[in-house]
Amino acid sequence: MHYDIQMADVTIEFALKSKRVSAVDQVNVTFKAGKITGVIGETGSGKSVLGMSILQLLPKQACISGTCFFGHKDLYALDAESMRKIRGQEIGLIVQNPNEALNPVRTIGRQLMEPLIKHFDVSRTEARKTVEAHLRCFGFEMPKKVMQQYTFQMSGGMNQRLIAIMGLICHPSWLIADEPTKGLDAILRRSIYDVFWEIRQHYTQSMIVITHDLFFAKKLCEQIVVMYQGEIVEIGEAKKVLTTPLHPYTKGLLMATPKAGMTPIPDHLNPSHESRCKFYSRCQFASAKCKVQFVELREIDPDTMVRCILYD
């Protein structure tokens, strides 16, 4: 029973003290089971907010509208207890900042065992065995010792692997990874790639990987969703999107990678109020047509969608 995650008309706003800030704006997307979908975009594009909303892990100030169907369940409409049962058991999460993601005063073993005990009601001995097996599988040679230790006794790479184990210990059918490579050096990034490859081979093929690391996305993902200021601007097959991008923003992102010479996307090319296209002010391809025409996400072929009038 591998369900897709289908989002329809998802809008997420944050009610701050004096104003409402929109983080995700009218998103329609289907994450297909059995595929790794990468969600890319700059910081603040709403990609993490979108990912966290699936597990209802946004702060209280967040107002979500729209639906997110997982099978026949709307994840946005679930009560706390049903949501709790989904978390970890059906959809797991792998977070960023591995060094801060584990409880500093609780042993690693306990933290890995508790979801097993909570979800499957297994005995401590059984849970311990399962955890040991997973630790060994992810390259910890002395699992018994690691389970007695604390997160601050681990290296960054070890913590990253522990966080991955934490996400998949109950063998969920889906995994969401939130910026797994953020703030890591090249060597660690490489080891994370191995971790994900391991997960893909042995645990689950259905993943949403939220990242701004295009290189990582290219190596791992099959489908790519590009977000800009809370909107999806392009959806397509990973190879296509990351080699022959359609949307000017995706092109800009690719130009900004180290390989392409790190050319930044320019700012303030055009006065932003002139068009309803959010990228208009930074777009090199902006034309008079942009000022009048309403832009929406349109299908190019069955796998590809783009939000730009260049492809009308």
């Binding site: 993601a101 409880n103 005063v105 609780r106 909570k118 966080i163 934490m166």
Partner: protein
Amino acid sequence: MIHYFLKRVISLLPVWIGITIFAFFLGLVSPGDPVYLSLTRDGITEPSEAMVNAKRAELGLDLPYHIQYVNWINRVIRGDFGKSIYDNEEIKAEMLRRMPVTLKLAFSAFVITVVAGLGIGAVMAATRDTILDRFLRQLCTLMVSIPGFCMAIILIAIFSECFHLLPTSGMEGVKSFIMPSLVLSMGTIGTSARLSRSNFIGEISKQYVLVASAKGMSKSFIGTWHIFKNAMIPIITFFGLYFAGILGGSAVIESIFALPGMGSYVIDAIYNRDYFIIQAFVLLTGTIYVLSNLLIDMLYFLINPRMKQGDSL
């Protein structure tokens, strides 16, 4: 563990010596000549200069200050605080009789502070920014603002004079400690609840809490097994200050409720200008405080795994 214990002892030793110097200094600056006072206690004798000098030599008060200090420390360590100027009783015996009362009172007030402070703090953090949270926050500020003696009068009026449930004063077993320890802990409950609230809230936004929720752990589980211990670590370091406040405040509360503790003893001593008792009181409360701090340091060591690692040492 032993290494850490010794380290703490060594760092607290100068503090304790400082306290003894302060107590000794109190004896020096007190007006009136203790020799003269002790000779004229009966109110009849008018001592001659020779008698005063002889007594002074007998008490060792003609020696240089640093030698007097060493002599004094030597006696004090053996528990010899001298005799009360007022009634010529051994201070040691009286203090030994009264210390359990003060310790019981301070300890029960401390337990109430910890339990109520953490409890109210946790409730406030869990219901953050709701009406309950705002109400409790105002209540905490109010609790810190009511003088202990006002609260004592109110409680006595309700529980003793109106319902005849609890004794107003004196020692009648456990019952006698209920109101005094409540009054004594009131202020520190307010302070510690606010501190706990902000610590709990600080922990709630940490990433490990998000990770635990994402694993499908329930709110109550996360609160009990994840947040609590983390929030406790910084709070524990304040326990020492609370204990000091409680110990000091017990002097006033003991007098109001006429409990025969060290505090009411010293308050009576002040009326009588009985300096040796005041000196002994300062020294004893300081020592109890230093010892309790040592205990708290050890607790901190036990609860915080980072200490065992030796990282923070």
